[in-house]
Symmetry: C2
Subunit: 527 residues, 2 copies
Amino acid sequence: MTEDTDDKATDGKALTRRALLVGLGAAGGAGAMYAAMGALGLAPDRQADDYTPPQRSDFTLRGRGAASVVILGAGVAGLAVAYELGKAGYDCTILEARDRIGGRSLTIRGGDRLPELSGETQQARFGEGIYFNAGPARIAQWMLTLDYCRELGVPIEPFVNDNASAYVYNTGMKAPVRARTARADIYGYVSELLAKATNAGALDRRLTPGDKELLLDFLSEFGDIGKSYTYDGSERRGYRVEPGVSAPVPLGPPPPLQEVLRYGLGRTIAFPFGYEQAMPMFQPVGGMDSLARRLADAVGRDKIRTSVEVKKITNLPDGVQIEHTGGSTKAQYCVAAMPPHILARIPGNLGTQVVSALATPKPVSGGKIGLEYRRRWWETDDRIYGGITETDMDISHIWYPSYGFHGSRGLVVGYYNLGDDADAYARLTHAERESRALRQGVRIHGDKYRTELLSSVSIAWRRQPHIEGAWVSWPSFEAPFRLLQQPAGRVYFAGDWLTHLIAWQAGALESARKVVTQLHTRVVKEN
Amino acid sequence: MTEDTDDKATDGKALTRRALLVGLGAAGGAGAMYAAMGALGLAPDRQADDYTPPQRSDFTLRGRGAASVVILGAGVAGLAVAYELGKAGYDCTILEARDRIGGRSLTIRGGDRLPELSGETQQARFGEGIYFNAGPARIAQWMLTLDYCRELGVPIEPFVNDNASAYVYNTGMKAPVRARTARADIYGYVSELLAKATNAGALDRRLTPGDKELLLDFLSEFGDIGKSYTYDGSERRGYRVEPGVSAPVPLGPPPPLQEVLRYGLGRTIAFPFGYEQAMPMFQPVGGMDSLARRLADAVGRDKIRTSVEVKKITNLPDGVQIEHTGGSTKAQYCVAAMPPHILARIPGNLGTQVVSALATPKPVSGGKIGLEYRRRWWETDDRIYGGITETDMDISHIWYPSYGFHGSRGLVVGYYNLGDDADAYARLTHAERESRALRQGVRIHGDKYRTELLSSVSIAWRRQPHIEGAWVSWPSFEAPFRLLQQPAGRVYFAGDWLTHLIAWQAGALESARKVVTQLHTRVVKEN
């Protein structure tokens, strides 16, 4: 049975991750990628593995490469490069400036220290089992990240990215409103307005009578407006008394249309419609850094040197020389998997065009705070199990945890903000950040938001040593972006910043696969 | 710390499950229930428990009752009655006609036998770790079921009730379409139509210029139609080539409005807007019967007698006499927690009015099939991790599992249908049901839907001995429903069918709490 399973998983016809995303039955569409891999001799072999998980990936470098490679950065991109090259026989060394692996894939647990460039160092006091994903925290179903979780046996669980019971609290609102209530109201009114316009003949030039009937049927259900085409509330809003032995009592009539329009719900409601954010999403069990850790284990911890800062990168005719903390390392090739704005500052001979390209994308500010509570009041009192409260206050979001349901303590993300809001928090001490986040959270959840707090840790990504940004933003995906897809001599570049999946681990993994393919093709050709 | 937590959980102010559902800060609203409990002496005491979980419930019978109670039926209602009465000191005995506890809360695993009234008996051949929730399978955040999971230490995990990557396949469609694509298209067109009607002045009598602007802002984001107010596709539809190192290539232009209207999306799209079905939902880890099992353990397995069919129920002046398989049992009180249509057939002296009331609700047909596959092709090939494909074929739904992600085998629910569709499948042999379900599934997923199958089990609830229905439907919640909320002599009635949460375990639990409160009040008063 198991061999059979694996056989199928590695059968050419099953190499269909992308192909099947294209559409039903379009397996032939594996097209470009598979053909390219075949041409490179990269098509997966059929060697049977043992019982799954972990399962084989749809990516394998065919043939062996004996070259030595020095990889700069033990973030997800660097680790994945070492992992894939290692499978093909390369001798890899990773140099990491920080004292831990994972880069921005950073999960903070009790006892962890978090220094900032400002000089302040926080020490996490979280209890057993509590963790804070300070960087990436969710994975979409279609992302390569899940393939690596599968391949490496990193268990996953759903991440609640949208919760009908969470709140929306924007400036236009008198008080926080449950997402379900806000949605029911705006969908109800939108349906009513369109149904009435339709019935009044306003769309007669666009719609046949048959179309109008189908549209009205849709609106009737979409807005729960029945056949009166008037929105006067819906059980979808929620109940004042829930259904039980007694009949439920609805929440009451909705606010007037004008008030609901002032809520400013567009962004909030559309958020989970995005291809990257649609439900369900996933997370590794036990913390996002599980993937980086498992990659590091697979690479071999002895091949990773932490607290080693790169001082100079020199392309030589036969290799690359890296000067770094405590010495220098020479290898036949180098993969620089560091943030581009940091890399741009490192002396060497990459050339002015390359350095200028590296300096083109600009770091983006982002910050989060993890608030540890002594009890899970959002579950017991508010009946919110995971998900996100959305607000236009400068905390932007409150995330409720998608793990540890019904446990004793729990960790809420008290802000996750970007740009100016993140900069404003970054300028504060940790104590001030906590205080500001609590003040806003209290407006949504009341005093318990402050009184039940046990401890907290905040991160300001622009102030993280050797990272200095949540991610980067390119002015365009033109010449500089394209230039860095090619090696500068024997130095290759990898990272989410070299993809159209910036800020996602999947970007780092896509880039890693592209770079190892490029490098391996060269090595195979030169040997 | 822990004592502190528990203190809070049992503090009067924290008795707020329902209160907080009423709305923010409306804790005073606990009103009716809490006042009633206080009057009955049921307010929770402050005795400190050990480390959580399990955590104390917000429900406790205060004071002890030494009466004996015979409970008919070891479904969730009967078990919860015995559990709550047991905590207050009652001597409970449960008689269960089936050979296992749980009633409709039935999880089928490898080795389980499933007899049907038709005479056919299926034997499940599922592999290790594979289970099939043949009855209830999901829990909403607000439901009492979660409180019992918390109290009893039954671990929970998210149940994916809606997946943007699953398919919709209705008669009006040429081929299955991803839910995300269908939603993007109908939201896009609805937004375009309403925006154009608004701009054409069709809503001028209803909307001020300021309202119009707010509405257009909303529609721009809701439908992803920008400021042209024209829907010509959206990245929300999905990609032909996903974002990676290369730029993504969108799926292409949407079908014309007329085609999208013919999809008949109203019901499908509105389904997760319902109060009972909104995401996220939850399931017990390892199978829905975990709750019933844990309740049975807490009650004491020695107090539960299975394969004991009730033959006669007699109210006596000082108790209730139950004649049953192998003898008779007398107790001071009885709680009949059986399906009403079965109970109505049992001889005794409940009286014609009560028997007529019991015969009033009609059983509803429902069926499911669990299809075990040798590999999780929906994850690897289709990138669907849990969730539901919706169709208007007679299978109605295909459920992908919300457990065992990335494992080897997996179990898909190949149909979950009601009414006439369920009756049609019920009339078939299991082999015929499987064959019919596969034929339809192949239209959505292709041949692998058939070729990767390992085994299956189907259930037709109308044909389940001693149950004979998925749930019941009342013509109205009037006199007969109200009559059965009161005891007939010393016989009380409990079950989801006596609530406004029919077909949900939460209904059984709500009913159980109400009955034990009623019974205990009487016992305390009479002593």
